[in-house]
């Protein structure tokens, strides 16, 4: 079970990786979403504010009205944000659930594929 410090570190790395990837930023320039995350094992929650492909913030707790809600184990979140697992495989095993449009689910996987093509 990961605590907020570990999640925060993973989110920090993910933010730097995404925002520092010019190809991704260009590809995602039409994508602005508010994401909410729920850790199913320890009830930690956090949010991600994405504006035209740029991650602006990843605060603890749920902020604003979500476009997408992602729920899974805190360990899976950490591995996912560090790029150590393929999220779509977890999704198709039912270990990650996503409430939102199918386009956004695919978009989240495409982000992972662009920044971690080796996963």
């Amino acid at each position: 079970m990961a605590d907020w410090d570990e999640l925060s570190e993973a989110l920090g790395d993910y933010t730097l990786t995404c925002n520092g990837n010019e190809r991704l930023r260009k590809m995602q320039r039409d994508w602005s979403r508010n994401l909410h995350f729920v850790c199913s094992d320890n009830e930690l929650t956090f949010s991600m504010d994405v504006d035209r492909g740029e991650i602006l913030s990843t605060p603890s707790g749920h902020v604003g009205v979500p476009d997408i809600v992602v729920t899974t184990h805190s360990e899976i979140f950490c591995d996912m944000f560090w790029g150590d697992l393929n999220p779509v495989q977890k999704y198709l095993r039912g270990e990650i659930t996503v409430q939102g449009s199918q386009e956004d689910v695919m978009r989240l996987d495409a982000i992972s594929a662009v920044i971690w093509p080796d996963v």
Partner: protein, 434 residues
Amino acid sequence: MTDPSGKQEALEKFATFINPQRVRVMKAAGLDIIESRRSGPWVWDEDGTKYLDCFTSAGSFNVGRRNPRIVAAAHAAVDSLDNGNFLLCSRPKAELAERLAELTPGALSCTMFGTGGGEAIDFAIKLARGATGRPRIISTVNGYHGHTGFALSAGGRASFRDPFEPLMAEFAQVPFGDLQAVEEALDERTAAVLLEPIQGEGGIVCSPPGYLAGVRAACDRAGALLILDEIQTGLGRTGAWWACEHDGVTPDVMTTAKSLGGSLVPISATVFTEELREFLIPSPFIHLSTFGGSDLACAVALEVLAVIEDTGLVEHAAAMGELLFAGLGSIAAAHPDVITEVRGRGLMAGIQYAEDSLGPRMSYHLARQGVLAIYSGNQPAVMRLMPTLIIEQPEIEFLLGAMERAITDLKSGGGPEESAPSRPRRRPARATAG
């Protein structure tokens, strides 16, 4: 990894020269199939795996894959014809248009050919605007009519439209099945209401009883046309030649495509009344298509219509549909936590799952059981089952058995094998303890 069939090489080429994300998504869902042999209701992956095709390119293979009669007609056409000069008059075009006039209901009697469904819808909308002198088109939320200009403007899925705005002006969407919403939207500027009798991409949503007739009457009162998109529902799919026949409703314009090409050639047709054809009399070249209704494609399509008629495929689809729905109903009753509803008509079935992720996950598990089935584009919680209409009872039983086993696998927590990154883990070691 060995690749005796060369399949991986094909996937890599697809990723490199077409789109890597499509390969990634299909691979993750267990649908990284490179179609090899195709025969009747079946298709084989290049790796040798055999699948019952229940996707059929969204209902494009009604007469079966590589139906021998269609293949023979195509060979005969190739031996003597080519695409033909699109500006010249053509015997195959004339003969196919005559057959469509005979087979479509009511006063539908004139045809414009195209190469695909989007083109057929584009022309239907052009005709509606041109013939009525009105600009407005009313379509439905979650409706699907194709990806071309007018068709996309009428589409009910924002994610397909939004990146390309501004699209065509004067398009509006109302909720499907809501007659009052159509009545309120219709006005003196409305050229046409465009509907699918059963929404396909929208998740196999049947129109409620009386809805089509009500829309027909409302259009008549407003002086607007009714365009029915029978691209997925037509040619016997629902147990009638055209789905609108179940409701006794005749549109002013009807589109057909997909299975008209018999799984071999691209062709679509927009069929309309002689009254509307008046718009085209002073402007006979106002809408042209180089390959629309090519002589080759028309020859094949004529044989498709003959096969459907000669073999009683419409009645067969109705009978097989009854078996399919009875079996799916039993499975749904046994697994209410997975399947909440089964709906559709004939051999156009929609399985409503309890939540969105079950669509992709069941595609994966069904593929493992030898069934190719893909969830709806506009409603991922709905799986479309649209097998070939030549399917027989043993294949229906195979499909139902596969569905049972797939649900068992789903409930047991199975899924794609997890791949580890080819590089060292990035997550700091101190944080890996659970």
